[in-house]
Symmetry: C2
Subunit: 358 residues, 2 copies
Amino acid sequence: MNKVHNFSAGPGILPQEVLKQASEACINFDNLNLSLLEISHRSKNYEKVMDEARSIVKELFEVGDDYEVMYLGGGASLQFAMVPYNLLRENGTAAYVNTGVWASKAIKEAKMIGNTKVIASSEDKKFNYIPKGYEIPADADYLHITSNNTIYGTQLHNFPKSSIPLVCDMSSDIFSRKVNAKDFSLIYAGAQKNMGPAGSTMVMVKKDVLGKTGRKMLSMLDYQVHIKGGSMYNTPPVFPIYVTLLTLQWLKKNGGIAWIEGVNNAKAQALYNEIDRNSLFYGTTAVEDRSKMNVCFLLHKPELETEFDKLWKEANISGIRGHRDVGGYRASLYNALPLESVNVLVDVMQHFEKKFGQ
Amino acid sequence: MNKVHNFSAGPGILPQEVLKQASEACINFDNLNLSLLEISHRSKNYEKVMDEARSIVKELFEVGDDYEVMYLGGGASLQFAMVPYNLLRENGTAAYVNTGVWASKAIKEAKMIGNTKVIASSEDKKFNYIPKGYEIPADADYLHITSNNTIYGTQLHNFPKSSIPLVCDMSSDIFSRKVNAKDFSLIYAGAQKNMGPAGSTMVMVKKDVLGKTGRKMLSMLDYQVHIKGGSMYNTPPVFPIYVTLLTLQWLKKNGGIAWIEGVNNAKAQALYNEIDRNSLFYGTTAVEDRSKMNVCFLLHKPELETEFDKLWKEANISGIRGHRDVGGYRASLYNALPLESVNVLVDVMQHFEKKFGQ
């Protein structure tokens, strides 16, 4: 079998050794002669998985016992509702920065729950930059930001200094680089990009922001219920959480955040350098806000698309078709993507220029 | 490796061939040379999975296009809230039958959302029977029942005739027997007992009951949003849904509901016959309400527990420890459990009687 270079925007590439372990666990988990898919989540073998999956997040983020980690179903989209439901007081206000489609969806749900103010937006330029220099209302209950924008290929390289609780959707760049997690009161991420497969969402929350809204809450939407139950208030998404643990163990074993940040910088640099050098392509976003996870680029001559598509497909490249809102191409460089795959793409781009450039 | 007889109450046993297919898909799905865990849910290969997973439910239930099928994250527990959120009008009333812990939790969430009336309950006898002969309020928005009670080992063998929309939590006995699905307006089930692994929940709803509450709804809690998105409003639990499809394909291929009902009747009869015959054991529930999925039984002499435990463990039996609310033993006989495993348990019980009976 030829190796596929998987640039999928998400669900995205996972480490080969993780996929092998996941495959084995479907047949025989933990030498029980039983599949992980058919054992009780209350078994001590699985409770160990859940405990480790929670503690490794705190370890990688270097936070203490003032934070709790949960794994929940429903995706980051459910968190768009759960964040305001748990943090926005009945008469309070939430502040949001709108940097793309996902932030817009988060804002829509927050507005259903309470007063929601959009304090900055890059919608005026189709979200191709990150707003900066905005004022954060000191009396808002929290500020919500999105660290990376999968669709538009922008990323926050400097987080706002905030005196109010900072909430961040890190779905598409979590654990890709060093962040000072203690600056955040809540971080959430759908697992299916840098953390694991689709089906579970990680929420890390500083306990002191909870229990302040006065709102009577539905059990499944109440962070405190899930924290009390150790993410086992009800049957959790067993297998997705296990594969997430394997992925984070792979990250830790290979050198953790410091190691992966170096790898990710090298990958992004190689690809952006080629986009800037190559006469046939150009990048779509403000240079200083370029995402190191999702690299969006267009052809100067869209009529050459068929020719370029032929070349990258021949090279066993998969998943670089751009999102319909932006068009062109998007190469997602998540943690598990090796530099080798980026080099293959760069080679294809150079070969393409030789054939079709002037 | 010795075969384990897996009587787990859930997540429960899945067919061996399904586990093998699931394991393979973790490495190479659909001959893409990519894992199912790392491809886009928008790929045509996965869209086919989702379409089939939805249509096979309608096929097995023999319903038409007036019904829609969804797969959602969050477990049946999230449905405890979503059902009233979508069906209970602001000034309406919902009627519930309380037959156990899960029904009680559903009632608790419904009460958070609107007027909720418990019209019958078996709480007076620790839920060891199914209430019958109650009156259904003709003006209620819906009647909610739970078809099988995993913890107490009771099951509805006759569904109430209802002039109002009938809603049923079938988490623990879905597709185990023939039901007239057209009598129900909404059926939901956490997949992890008879349908697949943990992490996805199936909801089948008759379209004409939706959109009547006048309630402004959070997107992720709105059935109409998920129906419109074909269960892909956001990234679905990709792998759990795929394994659910494999499990339902296994069921269909082997003869469907008619076939499995025969197998399940044979398994339940073999075990209940032994409980009734054996001088050392007794059943915990009203005989006419006994569950064919979860068989609860106790020792007349609890002091013999250690001896019995030793015997079934030697026979490679797993997961028959009773729930803490009932004690004793609980053997779950879900679809994928072969009659052979029940025969092994019956042999152990007979051997035990020979050694310790009088």
